[in-house]
């Protein structure tokens, strides 16, 4: 599903964010990307949803070389990739329902499709009863659930989450991670970038650890993340 072959990323200002990264994540897999702040986790995810293109090597997502994708095809790649951020990125003037529906509106979905899919997605994250609430009326954990519902509503084969628990307390964090884990496997590949050691260790999932842009460890079964 996601293949990186000797990928390096050097930002225009000369910062070497990733060097020689080889990584293969199969369909339906769940993986944590961990490492210190600045180790290149967000850069790795950015390459997968083609926010950035690698300066060397190949990034292949769902069989497509993202660097070869013409700009007008990028939106279609993004439709296959749901993205969740630490800061939720909800639209404050729209309700929960509208925020989730927005992801369908902007890809030209029909009203019927919207009315069918939004409730399913909200149900999945356990927020069916908050559909008419505005983001500011929700707890941080609930807001993150809305953003997950929005990422999932198109049924993407890939879900990326960049520090999804960064703004949450441990209990809410654990809930979110459980939710993300429940999503993977149903034909959805999930990659979560986090430096929350507690969560990674409790989860016993695949752990990819980055240090200064290099993969130092890729533990397929129940890896631990012991770095400070």
């Amino acid at each position: 599903m996601i293949h990186l072959q000797s990928v390096s990323m050097v930002y225009p200002d000369g910062t070497q964010a990733l060097s020689g990264v080889d990584l293969h994540i199969e369909r339906g897999e769940f993986a944590f990307g961990t490492g210190h702040s600045g180790s290149g986790k967000s850069t790795l995810l950015g390459l997968i949803y083609r926010d950035i293109v690698p300066t060397a090597g190949k990034v292949i997502v769902d069989g497509q070389d993202v660097a070869k994708l013409p700009p007008q095809r990028v939106p279609y790649l993004r439709r296959k990739v749901g993205i969740v951020f630490q800061d939720f990125r909800l639209l404050p003037q729209k309700t929960v329902w509208e925020n989730v529906g927005f992801a369908l509106d902007v890809v030209g979905a029909s009203r019927r499709e919207k009315y069918r899919k939004v409730p399913i997605s909200l149900e999945l994250v356990g927020l069916a009863d908050k559909a008419e609430a505005f983001p500011h009326q929700l707890s941080a954990g609930e807001q993150q659930r809305v953003s997950i519902a929005r990422a999932l509503v198109k049924g993407p084969p890939i879900l990326l989450a960049d520090e999804p628990t960064g703004n949450l307390d441990p209990v809410a964090s654990w809930d979110i991670i459980q939710l993300l884990r429940s999503i993977c496997g149903q034909n959805t590949t999930v990659v979560v970038a986090t430096h929350d050691r507690e969560i990674v260790n409790r989860s016993k999932c695949r752990v990819i650890e980055l240090v200064q842009g290099v993969i130092v460890r890729d533990d397929k079964q129940g890896g631990r993340y012991d770095a400070p």
Binding site: Q72, R89, L91, D105, V107, G108, S110, R111, K154
Partner: protein, 294 residues
């Protein structure tokens, strides 16, 4: 396209225009003023050219005969020119009466003896089929044996044409300046919207909205601004012009403004269309500059 999509795009564009409130009002009134000035110039220019054309068409060459001229020979010579459409003899008495009438003097009725002081010569009124030839025909007829001089209303026509040309040039210059101003104001308005909605745009990009899909609401906003500005300009311009036309018709006998309801309606639509085009162009300009990233 799906109904939901159309509704979404229109709603986003409309909401942006409303949310921009005062800025939208400023943009609309700027567009309206610019189109008002431009439209006024176009109307003035078209009318002046129309008047000049009428003058030229009406214009005849007055070929004055020498005292000892052979009237028939001159007439024959005039007809010999293939560019001549009509030749009409006007004797000195007729010419004098016409002149007095034109000047609005009724002295002749009071004192017919005055005809005795008439110094006007006999003449032919020559009309070329193409007004463009007037000067050439006049020069050639002056060369005919027995012709004292040939004259025509050169100055009036020339003045009108010069004025029309002046208006056209200043219209073009103003058009460029005001057009740029319109583009600037619309693109500034749209830039504000882009700024206000950058979060929304980013989310749209992330969830896979295509470039045009992100652009359309902004173009709609620009078009709405242009539409309102154009409609306002047309709503002011057309009644103003009708009033002018009526005023001129009642107070200035020798001028006639063009008046046709159909033409005016078309002109009004053109003004509105102009506003719409400038609105669309302005927002596209802004989008091009501030929305580069895919």
């Amino acid at each position: 396209m799906r109904l939901n999509t159309i509704e979404f795009l229109l709603h986003e564009g409309w909401e942006a225009a409303v949310r921009n409130g005062l800025v939208t009002l400023a943009a609309i009134s700027n567009i309206a003023v610019a189109l008002l000035i431009l439209g006024g110039l176009v109307l003035a220019g078209v009318n002046l050219e129309h008047m000049a054309a009428l003058q030229t068409q009406k214009a005849v060459i007055i070929v004055e005969l020498a005292n000892d001229a052979d009237k028939n020979a001159v007439e024959q010579a005039l007809w010999d020119d293939p560019r001549v459409e009509d030749v009409r003899f006007v004797d000195k008495e007729q010419a004098f009466k016409q002149m007095m009438a034109k000047l609005g003097l009724d002295v002749l009725e009071k004192d017919p003896d005055l005809l005795g002081v008439n110094v006007l010569p006999d003449s032919f009124h020559v009309k070329p089929s193409d007004p463009q030839d007037i000067e050439a025909v006049a020069q050639e007829s002056e060369a005919i044996e027995g012709v004292a001089m040939a004259r025509w209303a050169k100055q009036v026509t020339d003045k009108l044409l010069t004025l029309a040309r002046g208006i056209r040039i200043s219209g073009i210059v103003m058009g460029i300046v005001l057009g740029m101003a319109m583009l600037m104001i619309v693109s500034t308005t749209i830039r504000l919207t882009i700024y206000a909605r950058r979060q929304e745009i980013r989310i749209m990009q992330l969830v896979g909205a295509t470039g045009w899909f992100i652009r359309v609401p902004f173009v709609i906003e620009g078009v709405l601004d242009g539409l309102a500005g154009g409609a306002l300009a047309a709503a002011l311009l057309l009644p103003m012009y009708s009033y002018c036309e009526q005023y001129v018709a009642q107070n200035l006998q020798f001028v006639d403004l063009i008046y046709s309801t159909q033409a005016l309606v078309l002109f009004g639509l053109a003004v509105v269309l102009c506003g719409v085009l400038f609105g669309a162009a302005g927002s596209l300009m802004s989008l091009h500059r501030y929305l580069r990233r895919a």
